[in-house]
């Protein structure tokens, strides 16, 4: 019968993930954005427009528009919650931490700094979905690079 080593769906579609998917935080445009980044995943069509207000090395405000699966969109929503008010450097550290978690790092998955995004730890067991979870963070890193 079917390979029962398939990880449980419950690891993936946790309530908190579905909650962010249905009611994304910081969704919309941002009039005074200092940097805007558009990213998409050409194989599946997930997309994000990330808007940031960065002043004196701090993320003063952040918002996004986007379309895609529950994993990509909830991950972006959680990311914006984490980034708001943080120094850019701290944002980059969180991005690293998040990636470690996506590679299955158990310590990273317990890091309180990742807040709601810890619920995405189970995505690491679904290799085809990891890139969904990383879309928003990739956009953030690109934004930091562009902002200079």
């Amino acid at each position: 019968m079917i390979d029962r080593s398939t990880p449980a769906l419950g690891d993936l579609f946790q309530d908190i993930i579905l909650e962010h998917y249905r009611r994304p935080r910081n969704k919309g445009a941002l009039q005074d954005a200092t940097v805007n980044v558009h990213m998409n995943n050409p194989t599946c069509g997930d997309e994000v427009h990330l808007h940031l207000v960065v002043e004196e090395g701090v993320v003063r405000d952040v918002a996004f528009e986007g379309e895609g699966c529950s994993i990509s969109q909830s991950s972006i929503s959680m990311m914006t919650q984490m980034l708001k008010g943080q120094p850019v450097e701290e944002g980059l550290r969180l991005a690293e931490r998040f990636k470690e978690m996506m590679h299955g790092d158990a310590d990273a998955a317990k890091d309180k700094a990742l807040r709601d995004a810890r619920a995405l730890a189970g995505v690491s067991k679904f290799p085809t979905r990891v890139k969904c979870a990383l879309l928003g963070w990739d956009a953030f890193e690109e934004a930091v690079e562009r902002q200079g």
Partner: protein, 434 residues
């Protein structure tokens, strides 16, 4: 079509057809039993229990195809059209017999009109690069459809940019059928070529190719048919269709990846310049110029995929052994069953024609509140393989107003039980996201 083909190349098939005729049961063949011919589904193998609903991406291969490829390399392998020894003669014979098999399968009058390619994509690129470059010029138009696969869009974009031509598109109606009422008006322009698929990979729509050809011809346009999804599901007769070019891929019909065929009318092939240069495609080579080999070798530079060609011929023999009528009946049953079962899933929007006779068993849909990727992951966890995405038809997705769809696509080995499993899987997806 091919039923009237002389020369008994289908002995294996005749046996199977006879077996089927002797069976009692609902249909002329039993897909559940046919599965035994596909090693990937074997119960003791790594995919036991798999519900494979992604045959539009690539079909699974029957044992006879795997054996034919293996036998070729084990017993008959040598380079073709080169050696003067017995083994090379035999390899060449297998290779050219395979070409004849494909030619008969698609109703070609002349085997030399069949050119081996890597697949549909390469066939279309070959036509764009050779016929296109010589026959499409500044201000000319190439007419495509909203249903076309990127491999029947992008080669024409490249050509249009190179020569200064324009692309235009025939739209679809609300049920995903071509708007034939737009065709005549579109053909009033300087259209040099109409390119369309025989069957849509994204929606399953069967296009009225013969009718399009008739109208295109009277407007003086050539017609290329992307047959990637036609050959696995429908009898193909290029002469009856009346088209000028027909491209197909072996891997969509049980053959190996990396091999396919392009059929084109001899007078067109004669007038077309070579595609790639190299060995095999030349007659005489001088330091500064060369002359070309006879058709079809003029279009086949380099050592060809001989094992692939032999495998493709085995796939053709396999499909024909099922008999076109039985394949059609099986397909109709899956279409009717799928439309009915999926039509009753709450919150599911099914794309494509509602009339079973206008489509093959490809079901593309959107589920309220659940993104196609999430649907695919939930189905995968239940051992059901479907595709989620744009299916290489981004213009169509935009036209439908969706970023992506989930697609379940069937072939000869799929059963109505598997459609039941799909429906249960979708109900589970609705529960997870409910």
């Amino acid at each position: 079509m091919s039923e009237s083909v002389p020369g008994g190349a289908h002995t294996g098939g005749a046996t199977l057809a006879a077996e089927n005729a002797g069976r009692s049961g609902p249909g002329p063949f039993d897909p559940a039993r046919l599965r035994d011919r596909f090693p990937i589904f074997r119960p003791e193998g790594p995919n036991a229990g798999l519900v494979y609903l992604d045959s539009a991406a690539t079909a699974q291969r029957p044992d006879v195809v795997l054996d034919a490829i293996n036998d070729f390399y084990r017993d008959d392998n040598a380079n073709v059209h080169r050696g003067l020894y017995e083994l090379s003669r035999r390899a060449t014979e297998r290779f050219e017999e395979a070409r004849s098999t494909v030619a008969r399968f698609i109703g070609a009058r002349d085997t030399a009109e069949v050119v081996w390619t890597r697949g549909t994509t390469e066939g279309i690129n070959l036509v764009a690069a050779t016929w296109g470059a010589g026959n499409v010029g500044p201000g000319d138009e190439i007419l495509l459809t909203m249903l076309d696969h990127h491999s029947n869009v992008v080669p024409w974009q490249l050509l249009a940019r190179r020569v200064g031509a324009r692309l235009r598109y025939v739209d679809i109606d609300e049920s995903g059928r071509l708007r034939l009422d737009q065709l005549d008006a579109a053909l009033k322009g300087p259209v040099k070529l109409v390119a369309l698929n025989h069957v849509s990979n994204a929606l399953g729509t069967i296009n009225p190719v013969a009718e399009v050809v008739e109208r295109a011809r009277s407007a003086g346009a050539r017609v290329l048919v992307d047959g990637a999804q036609g050959a696995p599901h429908l009898p193909v007769d290029v002469e009856a269709l009346g088209c000028d070019f027909y491209a197909l891929s072996a891997h969509k019909m049980g053959g190996p990846m990396g091999i396919g065929a392009l059929w084109a009318r001899r007078e067109l092939l004669d007038a077309m310049p070579p595609y790639q240069g190299g060995g095999e495609m030349i007659d005489v080579v001088h330091p500064d110029e060369s002359t070309w080999a006879e058709l079809p070798h003029k279009f086949e530079a380099g050592t060809p995929n001989v094992g692939g060609a032999v495998g493709m011929a085995a796939a053709v023999d396999f499909v024909q052994s099922l008999t076109p009528a039985a394949v059609k009946e099986h397909e109709s049953r899956l279409v009717a069953y799928g439309l009915e079962r999926l039509g009753r899933v709450a919150g599911l929007r099914l794309f494509g024609p509602a009339e079973p006779e206008d489509r093959i068993a490809v079901f593309s849909f959107a589920m309220q509140g659940v993104h196609p990727h999430d649907v695919a992951t939930i189905l995968d966890a239940q051992g059901i393989a479907v595709r989620a995405g744009h299916h290489c038809t981004q213009p169509l997705m935009r036209r439908l107003g969706v970023p992506a769809t989930t697609r379940a696509s069937c072939w000869v080995y799929n059963t109505t039980d598997e459609i039941d499993r799909l429906v249960e899987g979708l109900e589970e997806a609705a529960r997870v996201f409910g």
